[in-house]
Symmetry: C2
Subunit: 106 residues, 2 copies
DNA sequence: CCTATATATAACCAAATGGTTATATAATTG
DNA sequence: CAATTATATAACCATTTGGTTATATATAGG
């Protein structure tokens, strides 16, 4: 299973995804967009690949990265569902613990 | 600014939120729902409080935790917008790099 | 074919993370 | 008021994370 939270948990990785939204990019182009080193970017790209948020292919001595739109759709659904589920039925549970007697000390 | 990704980045914290969805809970009740120690749970609760995903109040020698529904709505909106933005306009950018000449070696 | 260059990888480091045990503090209750 | 109990906190630890520099590998091009 891909871990959306891991992939999106880092600001740089979120920015890489935003950059790739503009269009596919070589690693070199991505590196040039950030202030951190090539190996640091490479590690972020590896995480994004592991979590399948992006794909890549080799083109000569370049490696080109692209958003994995399909999986982003799934990620989107998963996170939306998670938070969405937290939000409904809140009215039902709001009544608990409003009175002292509601806390059972055992 | 609250960091939704930090808050949701840990499985235990996501489960705590799910538990709180059932209704407000004392720390003791939360601790009993997990296999890890009270201080470990406390740390997760502190993170969730820092990121404002939950609120708490003292009730005697108990501390009661609740979902911060309002902030969860904002988080929901933020993530929705972030991923949503990544997904639209993909068709526009798909044309790049499909031909060799698209890679400029400088 | 040699050089330049894009990428990959190794080795290292500091700080953050997620856990532990032990103990202190504060409030309830018999 | 003493004992119990819920919470808070301190000190510690192993692992992960996000970065670094240095170097190796592979391909393109003059």
């Amino acid at each position: 299973m891909t871990d959306v939270y891991r992939a999106l948990g880092d600001q740089t990785r979120r920015e890489i995804l935003q950059l790739l939204k503009e269009g596919n990019k070589t690693q070199k182009e991505i590196v040039e967009s950030f202030a951190i080193s090539q190996p640091a970017i490479k590690k972020h790209l590896t995480v994004l690949l592991e979590e399948k948020m992006i794909t890549s292919y080799v083109h000569g001595r370049f490696r080109v990265y692209s958003l994995n739109t399909e999986l982003l759709h799934e990620a989107y659904q998963e996170m939306l569902q998670y938070i969405g589920d937290l939000l409904d039925d809140q009215l039902v549970s709001l009544k608990k613990y409003v009175e002292e007697g509601d806390i059972r000390d055992d």
